[in-house]
């Protein structure tokens, strides 16, 4: 049976673990631990290895959902995680001080992967801090050569995360509906 994976990445506290949990058919496998560094202020627990969930499809297919460790000191795992991935879901926390820096950082970190697959961007915590807005992110991405979907996302809302992943799949193949 075909199996593929989708990678969720973004800074600490952006909602990766929550987003995977909203889609996964199994209880998410978490590798959270108490944060002991400056991330503790934003999030008492942080992902130190990865999060894992799975979506079971009709006919026996499965899609694995992996969340990358949020802290940069675990970035050695990112290359391994992306191997065989369908695409990248980048979640950015709009309430962080410099979210465009986060965008740039993760695009650089996953550039090779994104260049051979597809990217979608979900902006979280826009209710706490509305600026920068979705158009601002789109313009930043376009300036960097990407025309990826950018949506406002509440990682706790299944319909938000599902819409984001749906956009990723259509970006992989806009004509896919013929084959559904």
């Amino acid at each position: 049976m075909p199996e593929h994976k989708i990678i969720f990445t973004g800074p600490v506290g952006a909602g990766k673990t929550t987003a995977i949990a909203t889609l996964s058919d199994i209880p998410i496998v978490r590798t959270d631990e108490m944060a002991t560094d400056m991330t503790a202020r934003r999030k008492p627990n942080t992902t130190v290895a990865m999060d894992y969930g799975v979506m079971n499809l009709d006919g026996g297919g499965r899609v694995h959902l992996f969340g990358t460790p949020g802290q940069e000191r675990f970035d050695f795992m990112w290359d391994i995680l992306t191997q065989g991935g369908l695409g990248l879901v980048l979640l950015l926390d709009n309430s962080r001080p410099k979210p465009f820096n986060d965008l740039l950082f993760f695009l650089n970190a996953f550039r090779k992967f994104v260049d051979r697959t597809r990217l979608v961007v979900g902006i979280t915590f826009m209710d706490e801090r509305p600026a920068p807005g979705i158009p601002d992110y789109s313009d930043q991405l376009r300036a960097l050569g990407y025309s990826a979907p950018v949506f406002e996302v509440d990682a706790r809302r299944r319909e938000d995360v599902a819409t984001l992943v749906e956009a990723l799949l259509y970006c992989i193949d806009p004509g896919i509906v013929d084959h559904v």
């Binding site: 075909p2 199996e3 593929h4 889609l23 202020r41 008492p44 979506m55 499809l57 009709d58 006919g59 297919g61 899609v63 369908l86 309430s95 001080p97 979900g122 915590f125 209710d127 706490e128 801090r129 509305p130 600026a131 807005g133 979705i134 158009p135 789109s138 313009d139 376009r142 025309s147 990826a148 979907p149 950018v150 949506f151 406002e152 996302v153 809302r157 299944r158 319909e159 938000d160 599902a162 819409t163 984001l164 992943v165 749906e166 956009a167 799949l169 259509y170 970006c171 992989i172 193949d173 806009p174 004509g175 896919i176 509906v177 013929d178 084959h179 559904v180």
Partner: protein, 405 residues
Amino acid sequence: MNDAHPSPAGDRPARAIPAPLPIVLAGLDTRMRALLELFFAGPARDRGRLVTEHDQTQPRLAIVDLDGIDAAAVWQDLRARFAGPAIVLSVSEQTLDGAVWVRKPLQAGDLTAAIDRVREDLDRQAPPTDAPPPSHAAPSPAADATAALPQQPSPKTTAAPTPPRHRTPAFDLTRDLEACYGTPHGAHPGDADTGRLDFYDPQRALQGVLQKARARALQYDDPVWVDHRGNGVVLFSNGRHALVNATERELALLCDEPTVGDDLVLRPAPASDHPGPGLAGACDADELLWGVALRCARGRLPWGTDPTAVVWLRRWPNFTRLPIPPHAMQIAALWSQRPVALRQTSALLGVPERYVYALYSACLALDLVRTESRRDTAPAPTAATPSAEKRSLIGGLLRKLKLLR
């Protein structure tokens, strides 16, 4: 003229000293709260006085510490109860709507400057008519009063007619699919599957009026009211919010009018409908315009559109916060990857033209698409077509995701 308070400048009339602003505190620890009690009992007693939920006076300003571990909850709780301006104290820069950031460690001068700024904003929004006499009452014992429940600001009298206070939050004008996208049998005048092209004129429809009002509000930095017999829509000067003083049905009927004519008049919004920092009751202006454009277009193209011109997507619609028309996601994906003619989009994706035209019209209303007047001669999509196995898996995943949303 108040002789008791001569103007320092000497040649200007003296102004009455404004009453101290009633201030509520939120998210502060005991030490910080005690400091602010001292501050407002002493050097800043003319600028503010602390109030609690037990006071008769409703707060006009909140001071909130956003460095606590539960800062997000504190902010949300405050905003649920108090829509007025806030001063946020934090070590890192905060740019929250309706809030002024003051860096920690807190300096008295920074805080007084922030309070003065808030007062100026409040005065601008509500020019004082009969200012109350200055009050130098001793401040109340302060408490962490996130539970204080201020009332909505009372409507101010203005010469202009005042829209009713009925305010519709988010609504969906696209629920009726036929009304928005036509039918495949040509029963609807907007249908395009019959091979006959049909157009509409956005500028003469409600869509154009709202777009004009939004542009004017942005240009003059003042809210604009689209007055429809005393009801209607107020577009705020931030370009992002609107107040709808009409039912969904009333709005839908207006959308169905090809020419709205003199039914709608653009006016300066009454002061009572100027947005407060909390924007209570406001809806998203993009969401409003998106729904109106879909409903006005009804699967048709804006007048003058060349269906052979190529289209490309500047930005994706924010599909998690907008109604998603049928096939919109795959059309957007195609347009985001390369310029494609409208008619060719339909052929490439096997999607009825009316859905392509509907999405194009709505995207155009939000300035999300660009067209170029050249015929589409581009080759098929350059992205490598996924393997059959992968397509099968993606198809299965799409089916599942559509069930989830």
